[in-house]
Point group: C2
Chain length 352, copies 2
DNA sequence: TTGAAAGCGCTAACAA
DNA sequence: TTGTTAGCGCTTTCAA
């Protein structure tokens, strides 16, 4: 099962009656630079064309210790947020002539180690990670020889280059509006408390309450992990405790929201009077009977900045000054009352 | 930006005071076979361990012309169906020690050519394609030296190994139930007519009508492509023609359904009396006010069979007899009336 | 029981 | 203007 009639540079050289070196130069566009005669160049080029010469990727990588490949570490491919980022990145790097290898950690730090190792073994030239780790120890080491960019999540308080959504301010605004409507009860469901997204979204929640003049009750905050079953479980728990649904609920991720929705689907009576809001957005939310306010991340900008950052790092290791970038998010008001209030509040808080 | 202190097999050999050859044998588990002394083996192994020796992937690939990598060609990463397949495959191959490279064609045959070329250049050992092509000419050639498995879609009438959902029979059943309820009007929105999924789903639609004793009106069938905007456009078209929504509508893919939903969201009056059904399923459909009947593909089985098939082909090129496999789909009844009818019909058509 | 040597396909000094 | 040569890291005869 070998590549058949695959033509090598030696073959080309032979056919053209030149040496491998000359052929190599010409085929790499360095013909002029090294002043290979026009005629020879043409001959080589046309032979290569004719035989559909394709340089061996592995030989090249071995020789130059550059694989023109980068690795993307992602929790799950089926989560809409991650898939969107992966999609954008794939296209950006493809157009830049760089192959991207997507590896899934399944949100498991152990497995993340494995897949990263794997990628490193393949000599990826760079790494973009949506990490499930809370320590950047391993990545710091790696970064000393292969640039690493954190995307979407900060690993602990890592100082490695980082691109992420400004979750705090958008969450604050959303919660402020929500709390204004439901000052007496507004729950928060979060994921792994150790991950930065959790921290920021929680911080935003707290600040939103404060801005609305609502004082936090500790039992409003529940945190587990980002799997959707956690959303289900927390919802079940709260509904059981209250004997009714909470008046308002903010889920810190789309996956958690899915779990909550699943619970509501099985217990439709718990939809009564519930005001839902969530971090992360999905088109289908537009069609849901519950008017769920949500926060939409800007995947295009996130991906683009991560791309640009990594490309810069790969080209020369002189790290650019702003090594951390935050991308604003956009709130999508779906609840009519929220929409009204949000306009009002925005107007009020404007200077004039 | 070089891999630092990366240890090579020469280093190991040197440190152990043996030759590269011996080290290689031991490190590849062929020590016993070649009767390398136990003591030497231990020495080599422990040194490798100590220095965290990692064989160079590219050197190995160059030497053995096997990259332990396979390529997956997929239209879009953000389509739930494709992402689900990708996810399953990623995990299967990862556990088998094989790296999978996902390349997106954006549903564009030209781009598909490019990315396939790219993968081939990287000497992938196998290829799984969800193709947007209607001719398998290129793939047939490729298959002669790198095994190719078609997943989800048949390329033209290609005889290359193929794993796909049995779309026809499930669609037939669904349509039969739908047509029984709405014998006077039941529309069909499809994607590229040249792609097999389209053909099969359309065939299922026609047969379902027949089984329900409904005679097809040509204007019920609209086909464009699988992008969601087509769903939007077709819906707009039909609603404008009728001055009201159709009574029943089957969309041949989830993306088309999304387009339809988007239209409905902007024109809520058109939801009135509309009975929607679709090929492909999504969790969120459970929470939609419109009770949308849908057909769920079995991603796990699809992926597993593709995996098994490709692994077999990669191991020895003796192709197994059943080179085409169909995986049954499951209908998810959400509309109460559909559910009732489906039970009734099933019972009736049972032998006793 | 181990080592020497060749070579996978490519690039880049250095010569000519 | 072009060719020679060495070597990236690894595996695999063949010889000792």
């Amino acid at each position: 099962m070998k590549q058949p009639n695959r033509i090598t540079i030696s073959n080309i050289a032979e056919l053209a009656g030149v040496s491998k070196a000359t052929a190599s130069l010409v085929l790499n566009g360095k013909g002029d630079e090294y002043r290979v005669s026009e005629e020879t160049q043409q001959r080589i080029l046309s032979i290569a064309e004719e035989h559909r010469y394709q340089p061996s990727f592995h030989a090249r990588a071995l020789r130059s210790s550059r694989s023109h490949t980068i690795g993307l570490v992602i929790p799950f491919l089926t989560q809409f947020t991650n898939a969107s980022l992966a999609r954008e990145l794939e296209s950006l790097f493809r157009n830049a002539g760089i192959q991207i290898i997507i590896a899934c950690s399944d949100e498991d730090p152990e497995q993340e180690k494995l897949v990263v190792n794997n990628l490193l073994q393949r000599q990826v030239d760079g790494l973009i990670v949506i990490s499930s780790n809370s320590s950047d120890e391993a990545y710091s080491k790696i970064h000393s020889y292969v640039p690493v960019v954190q995307l979407g999540r900060q690993i602990g308080d890592s100082s490695l280059p980082l691109i992420m959504t400004d979750a705090e301010s958008s969450t604050t605004s959303l919660i402020q509006v929500l709390a204004t409507q439901h000052p007496d009860e507004i729950y928060y469901f979060g994921g792994e408390p150790t991950l930065t997204p959790s921290k920021q979204r929680l911080a935003g929640y707290k600040q939103g309450l404060q801005q609305a003049g609502v004082s936090l009750r500790p039992e409003w905050i529940r945190q587990r992990n980002f799997f959707s079953y956690s959303g289900y479980d927390m919802m079940e728990e709260v509904c059981n405790e209250l004997g009714r649904p909470p008046k308002a609920l903010f889920t810190a991720s789309f996956s958690l929201l899915e779990g909550v929705l699943q619970y509501l689907n099985q217990n439709p009576e718990m939809q009564q009077g519930l005001h839902l809001a969530s971090f992360d957005d999905h088109e289908l939310l537009d069609f849901m009977p519950l008017r769920i306010d949500s926060i939409a991340q800007d995947y295009t900008a996130l991906a683009f900045n991560a791309f640009t950052m990594l490309m810069a790092l790969m080209e020369d290791k002189a790290v650019l000054p702003p090594t951390m970038q935050t991308i604003p998010a956009r709130i999508r008001w779906r609840h009519p009352e929220s929409r009204r209030l949000s306009k009002q509040i925005t107007t009020e808080s404007l200077p004039k």
